[in-house]
Amino acid sequence: MTTATANKVKAPKKGFKLDRQMIPTLAAVVIFILMMAMGQAMFGTYLRLGFISDLFIDHAYLIILAVAMTLPILTGGIDLSVGAIVAITAVVGMKLINAGMPAIVAMIVMLLLGAVFGLLAGALIEEFNMQPFIATLSTMFLARGIASMISTDSLTFPEGNNFDFIAEKIKLIDQPKAAHDLSINLGVIIALVVVVFGYILLHHTRTGRTIYAIGGSRSSAELMGLPVKRTQYVIYLTSATLAALASIVYMANIGSAKNTVGVGWELDAIASVVIGGTIITGGFGYVLGSVLGALVRSVLDPLATSFGVPAEWTTIVIGLMILIFVVLQRAVMAVGDKK
């Protein structure tokens, strides 16, 4: 009997080393390199150490947000509230510091506050059947509203605060001209830690695998006996807390906070995640892709400036660049499909 069974199917082709799911992410790597090379070739400043340093320092917050956004998107959900959570935690944190609270305590309060909003979103989604889009849209309005109710002023650190140790630049390569220094700061290191955290969470914990499973099919995940509800809470809690962390990094960097900070950042984060090859309907994608997506998104603006795009055309050109990017990925995938 079993002899017949053994020959039933030829095992699918082996040596299929390059996982098809990784193609879009790889495309992001290639395009990022091409963009930097093009910038360097045409304007000569894109490989300057100063630019590269600033790319990371100025976008540490975006990298953190991209990692945060990857989690809900992998399940087919979304978190629109990250930008607003940056705002409310920044405003609250700054108020606390100005009231004389030590920086570390303020940071913890900020993280907790972010977590509260994540918990609220999770509860709305899981307990009241709200769709993530609507639930996080609501918490976005709520966070932004409360932030502006607390203060609409541009708040700055008081004299002698100890918050900006996060922004303290560490010069790795010090050259006479600032534009050629290679430097990082604690914010960048935090962002990198977050990336590693995201990677481990998604690929080396059961919670992470459950996230992918939910993205594949929520009802299947439930019937497979996976802790779907708990995982959903974890996702929105994590993304909101990471948003608070992004807020800390950004606030330390610029030394001020305001209720209007972070408007539209959720869209940048989503764009980064998508450019990085994660599928918005869930199930496929990588955290590293999102990081690359964030970097690609970050060089779009300077490229537009370098090319001297007229004011009215900038959003069109940036939109087109993202479009070309997505289409290219799609084409690469289609070719991969055929093979």
Binding site: L47, F51, T156, Y250, G255, V261, V263, G264, D301, A311
Partner: protein
């Protein structure tokens, strides 16, 4: 791998100036930034223009830092926020790149950072708010009720125009309600219609709209409610459309917030780079308009925006 070390000056030998801008948001902004771009081109600079989106400061900071890394000869900064620039300015100071702030002044705490800012060029928002208050004081010596239409909560322009108003407004002038209409004509119309409904019994007599766009919307709501002429509308900015509306009697008073100072800015940059001493604060004069002066201004056809 630290790039070619060409200086900021472009091949043609022109001086390169980075312009960290807001982007075409409304009539004022468009006029202002076009004027600056034109003026610098005329003065023989190579101006790199970098707008932000949705007034996002983070994009401005990134653009600023990019200009520093590009080693441009000067940076013009039209900031969306008045703080948060210390780190970037420090870097500019280290790279010895002069920064000129335009339109909105910024708060700098760090002394090293403050060194980077050479001069501020622009009109005053507080002054504009004060003018609005004084117009109302003058027109309603016996007191009056009215509304304020604000820009989006939290912008420093909104606050400055508001504090100017607060500083000068008489105690018998009562503001029934102030609401945000997001700088938008269309929202202002809706909001005003609602306010007029709500406060019908209080007999509102003035509306202070913090910009022209909102004032024009308010005027339409007032018109629709059959109150044209009975409610005085004061706006800030002084675009052509507003002046026209002033002539037509839809608006009562327009305070200019003069966006045309590209020439002054270009001159300041040029002077500085030529080693001349320049003033720390170059205030741009603005005018106020009533129906007659508006007609004059429109008729002589010199208004650029």
């Amino acid at each position: 791998a630290c790039g070619s070390s060409n200086s900021g000056s472009s091949d043609s030998g022109k001086k390169v100036v980075g312009f960290v801008a807001v982007g075409p948001e409304d009539g004022f902004r468009t006029a202002n930034e076009k004027d600056i771009q034109q003026a610098f081109a005329d003065a023989g600079f190579d101006l790199k223009y970098s707008p932000t989106q949705q007034g996002d400061q983070s994009k401005q900071i990134q653009a600023f830092n990019k200009f520093v890394n590009d080693e441009v000869d000067a940076i013009i900064l039209s900031s969306t926020e008045d703080s948060g620039w210390d780190e970037s300015l420090k870097k500019a100071a280290e790279a010895e790149i002069p920064v000129f702030t335009v339109d909105r002044n910024i708060d700098v705490k760090d002394s090293a950072a403050a060194k980077a800012v050479v001069s501020h060029i622009g009109p005053s928002n507080e002054w504009a708010g004060e003018q609005a208050a004084e117009f109302v004081n003058k027109n309603f010596p016996d007191g009056a009720n009215g509304f304020i239409l604000e820009g989006p909560a939290g912008l420093s322009v909104v606050k400055d125009r508001g504090s100017g108003w607060d500083a000068k407004v008489a105690s018998n002038i009562k503001v029934l309600d102030s609401q945000s209409a997001n700088w938008s004509t269309d929202e202002a119309k809706t909001v005003t219609a609602g306010l007029l409904d709500k406060f019908k019994s209080e007999n509102p007599q003035f509306i202070f709209a913090q910009n022209d766009e909102m004032g024009l919307g308010a005027a339409q709501a007032v018109d629709a409610a059959g109150l044209k002429g009975k409610v005085k509308i004061i706006t800030i900015d002084g675009t052509k459309n507003a002046l026209q509306a002033l002539v037509d009697g839809d608006l009562s008073y327009v305070i200019e917030y003069n966006p045309i100072f590209g020439k002054e800015t270009a001159q300041a940059v040029k002077d500085y780079l030529d080693g001349k001493k320049i003033e720390k604060n170059i205030e741009i004069d603005s005018k106020t308009f009533d129906a007659t002066s508006a007609k004059e201004a429109l008729d002589n056809g010199t208004r650029a925006y």
